[in-house]
Structure formats: structure tokens, C-alpha cells
């Protein structure tokens, strides 16, 4: 059934016009209004987070009561040593694990996307499994292994090994989708023009799948930065940012956490906007 849709697109049909000619009935407003309310609902915790970074509380720990506006916590952003060191750990783990995951995952995605070979269905199933198994099962199974093996010290090494592991399937899936959508004849054409397979790969295939590799890297980076459940199992006494935040909730969060969250959020938004703009420009060219 999806073949119908793909065919239509392959022929290069223009984007279909809105299904219904606009009619002036109030029922037509239900869905758009609902959608915008949902967007508001989805964003509400972010508003709260940003707002409470300005809460002029008397102590050091945030409470739901609003005391008035202050910029104190923004000025004193690095005033909580535990948070700063946890954030540093996260900012080391995320890029390192993303680099490894993107290299290994891209190769895997290439293999799965463009070749037919024996052993492909089981590998596809393993990737599917990695995504379908609950994080808590993955986390507890990794901890079981590290406990039984004993010789890997539980800490930053086990965090890295685990983060690379859970990111690889996501990178592979992203790259696989892109490779499957590629026109194989481009690479054949390069080889017809006497490019050897490696040159054809680096000059033709790699630039074409570069967006997927970048997307895979960002995905792996964000997954690592955000991961709580698996990390909580394999981190031992090492603290990453989410783990530190979770631990701090018991006694109350310092407002600097909200400020840091706001900054990370703005970075993410900026990256997304830049990405959209770049894609727009590329589509226009």
C-alpha cells in the first residue's frame, strides 16, 4: 500500500493540494486549535523550567512557590560544583560515544542498506531488538555483565561502552534509511567512468549519505547526553548530568539546574533551526 505513495512521488508529482477546498464552518477550526493547544501542553514544562530559573527563593533549593524575579542564578551559574563536574562528565561522554557510534553505525547502515547478504535478516532483527527492548532491561543486563566479568571498572568506561552500544542501532537505522533511498545508478555511473569502487564511494556515496551521518551523530550525542535509565545502572559512583539532577531532586534542585537546562534547550533549538534553514536552502538550490 505504501507502494502507491512512493510511486506517486517517484514520478515527481507536485505536492498534493489541500484535500478540501476551504469551507467556512467552525468545525474546521477544531483540529488546528487542538493542535496548537497540544503544542502548548507539550511545551509547558519547558516554560516552567525557564521560569523557575528566575525564582527569587530565599534558600538554595527551588520550591514550587513563586517568590519574585531575580537574575542571581544566571550570574551564579557555576556556583554548584557537583552540577558542573557532572555536566563536564556528560560533555566528555556524549561526543566520544557519538563519534564511535557514528563510525560503527554508519558501516552497519551501509551494509544493511545496500547489500543483500546472508546474515542480514538476523542483524536487522538484533537492531530492532536493541530498539524494542526496554531501557531498564538493557541497563540491568549490562550491569549483570560488568559484575560477572569483574575486570572492567564500573564508571566512565562502562558508561562509554554502554552509550556506544545503545547509539549504534539508532545511527544504523538512520543511515540505512538514507542508503535505501539512494539511486544506485549514480555510483554505477561513477564506476562506468572508471572510478574504482573506493573513489566512487568517497566521491559519490559518502557526500550523498552525509546528512544521514550528521543526523546519526547528533542523535547519538543527544541520546548520550539525555540518557538516565541505562547510565544509572552502569555508572557506579560516576555522575553524569541527568544522574546528578535525579539525585538532587530528593533534597531539592538548585535553580542553576533550570538555568543550565534552559541553556542546553536553547542550544538544541538553535541547532534544529540551523538544520531546517540549511535543508531549505539545499532544497532550493
Amino acid at each position: 500500500m505504501s507502494a502507491v505513495a512512493t510511486d506517486a512521488r517517484a514520478v515527481g508529482a507536485p505536492a498534493p493540494a489541500p484535500v478540501n477546498p476551504p469551507r467556512k464552518r467552525w468545525t474546521r477550526l477544531i483540529l488546528p486549535v487542538y493542535t496548537w493547544l497540544m503544542i502548548l501542553y507539550l511545551a509547558s514544562p519547558v516554560f516552567v523550567m525557564i521560569l523557575y530559573g528566575f525564582n527569587n527563593i530565599p534558600g538554595e533549593r527551588n520550591v514550587p512557590k513563586w517568590f519574585g524575579f531575580t537574575l542571581h542564578w544566571w550570574r551564579d551559574l557555576f556556583g554548584v560544583p557537583g552540577m558542573v563536574s557532572a555536566l563536564k562528565t556528560s560533555l566528555v561522554v556524549a561526543p566520544v560515544s557519538a563519534v564511535f557510534a557514528v563510525i560503527i553505525g554508519t558501516l552497519l547502515g551501509l551494509a544493511l542498506g545496500r547489500y543483500r547478504f546472508r546474515g542480514k535478516p538476523p542483524v536487522n532483527f538484533v537492531i530492532f531488538l536493541a530498539i524494542a527492548v526496554p531501557e531498564i532491561v538493557l541497563g540491568s543486563s549490562l550491569l549483570s555483565m560488568f559484575i560477572l566479568l569483574k575486570w572492567i571498572p564500573i564508571g566512565i568506561v562502562t558508561i562509554l561502552l554502554s552509550h556506544i552500544g545503545f547509539s549504534i542501532p539508532f545511527v544504523a537505522v538512520t543511515v540505512r534509511a538514507r542508503v535505501q533511498g539512494l539511486d544506485r545508478s549514480l555510483e554505477d555511473a561513477a564506476q562506468d567512468l572508471f572510478a574504482n569502487p573506493l573513489t566512487a564511494f568517497f566521491k559519490v556515496t559518502l557526500p550523498l549519505i552525509a546528512p544521514a551521518i550528521l543526523a546519526g551523530f547528533l542523535l547519538a550525542f543527544v541520546l548520550s547526553l539525555d540518557d538516565f535509565v541505562i547510565t544509572n545502572f552502569v555508572s557506579g559512583t560516576t555522575l553524569t548530568f541527568p544522574i546528578w539532577v535525579y539525585g538532587a531532586t530528593r533534597i531539592g534542585l538548585p535553580p542553576q539546574v533550570n538555568v543550565m537546562g534552559t541553556l542546553l534547550f536553547l542550544t538544541g533549538v538553535l541547532a534544529a533551526v540551523v538544520n531546517v534553514l540549511v535543508q531549505r536552502r539545499r532544497a532550493r538550490v
Binding site: 505504501s2 489541500p18 484535500v19 478540501n20 483540529l31 488546528p32 487542538y34 493542535t35 507539550l42 509547558s44 514544562p45 516552567v48 523550567m49 527551588n62 514550587p64 512557590k65 563510525i103 558501516l107 551494509a111 547478504f117 546474515g119 542483524v123 536487522n124 532483527f125 538484533v126 537492531i127 531488538l129 536493541a130 524494542a132 527492548v133 526496554p134 531501557e135 532491561v137 540491568s140 549483570s144 560477572l148 552500544g165 544504523a172 537505522v173 538512520t174 534509511a177 545508478s185 554505477d188 574504482n196 569502487p197 573513489t199 543526523a215 539525555d226 538516565f228 535509565v229 545502572f233 548530568f241 541527568p242 539532577v245 534542585l253 539546574v257 534547550f265 538544541g268 534544529a272 531546517v276
Partner: protein
Amino acid sequence: MATEGADAGATPVVPPKRGKSYGDRKRLVPYWLMLPGGGYLLVFLILPLGLLTFTSLESGGAFSGNFRFTWEFANYTQQIVQYQAQLVRSVEYSIIVTVAALLLAYPMTYWIAFYGGRWKSSILLLILVPFFVSFVLRTIQWKFLLGDNGLIFGPLKSIGLLSEHFHVLATPFAVIAGMTYSYLPFTALPLYVALERIDKRLVEAAKDLYSSRWEAFRHIVLPLSLPGVFAAFLLTFVPATGDYVNASVLGGPGTTMIGNIIQQKFLSELNYPEAAALSVILMFAMLILASIYARILGTEDSALAAGVAG
């Protein structure tokens, strides 16, 4: 380069035809590409799952820390009996969460996919943007929103619209609402992908044949979006069952889920065999679900891929 010479020797100089005349060397290419990833997943996914099962059959003193492998199947029966309430609760909550998330997300993604026009991806981005904030931090914000003296109920209480004893935190509602919020993107993305790739001309055709808007939806859009619904179900239900962050941040003693027990036994009580047994139960339940899904839709469905990529 070296490959050039080797290839020239193995294959005729005629440009290679597509899919044919691949030499032995080329036949090995996918295996080489697959080796690092496959090997990594074997060691850090399959092996741990095996060792988790191994751990779950150990026995020994929880305090001495000396566990021995004894085919201790009693771990399973004992845990199921002891934590029946939490197991049932996890399934109950997850079903409610999945259904709620599907009902909330479907109309929204339907509108974006069918009427979003050129703003489609921008609106979708608006939906996903809040999820740049880390999961733990987002969940905590609900505590501030739903807290007894928080942003919503604080003012209502001070003007006397709500009684002083009214509270939402620590109730099943708070946990279910928090989980629904947490997993909504996992529901929305596969739904959106499935809805978006429906050929809109099919709906027009139905209308040309005198079907009403509702009939067109019921007989064309809904059936064609079912793969997305299945993917959304899998991607929402599975993480929801294992969730323990929502229950521990927003819940109370009466809302403990199986994830909380596993976490506590593994990390606080250091009773690995019992924790592993519970984890294995969860794993098998999910494996059965995932296999059913893979049977019906395969493991390469793009709705699922898009869902996870989000």
C-alpha cells in the same frame, strides 16, 4: 589503489553490470562493513541479555555477595508472587498511557500531515522542541506544575476554589499523566510518518465517489495509518512498562511500578538474582510483543525507524 588492480584482474574491463559479476572480494564487502557493528552488538547487547538470564538463575546470600549458578527457577516464581501487584500495575498503567497518547497524538498528527501544507516540518519541529530538555528535568517540572502549592493548584487553593487537602502528586493520575507526556513523541512520530505518506489523492477519489469526510477517513486514512499505529503502540508501550522515573518523581508509595523494584534491587539491595529475574520477565514479555510486531510488519518498517530516529 590496491583494490583497483585486484578488481581489474578479477573482473573483465567491461564496466560491471548492476548486481552481477561481483568478484569474491566484493562479495565479502558487506560482511566487513557489518563486522564492527555486529560484533559490538553481540558483545554489548546479546551477551549481556544472556548473562542477565544467567544471573537470574543464581542463588546465594544477598549480604555475602557470593552468588552461585544453581538453576534457581524459584527466583521467578517467588518474584512473580511477591511483586504481582507491581507487575499488574505496570501493565495497567502502560496500557492506559499508550491509549491516551494515541488518542491525544492522532488528531494532531492527522491535521499536520493532511493540512500542514508547507509548514508541516516546522509544526512537527515545534512538537519535538520541548524534548530537547532532558527526560529527568522535564519530569521534575511536572512536580512544579502539579505540586500542592504549584503553579496550577496554588492560586486555585488561595482563592478557595480547591480544598487545602486537594492533591494530584503521588496519585496514579500524576504518574499516568507524566508518562503520557514523556512518551507522546514516540507515539506522534510514527503516526505522523504513516499519515504523511498516505497518497492524499486517495481521499479526493473517495470524495469524488460521494463519501463523506468521515467515511473517507474511516475507510481510507485509518486503515492506511495502521502500520503507524502499531509502531506507535510498540514504541510507547514498551518503554512505559519499564519506566520508573515518573513513578519515583511524581508517584507515591501506592504507585510503585516494576521498574522501581528492579532498580531498587539492583542498585540498593544488591540482590542481583532476584532483580535479574524480574528484568528477564519484562524482557520476555516485550520480546513476545516485538516478535508479533516484526511478524506483521517486518523489522525494516520506516514508520518505526522514523519513530526511533526522533
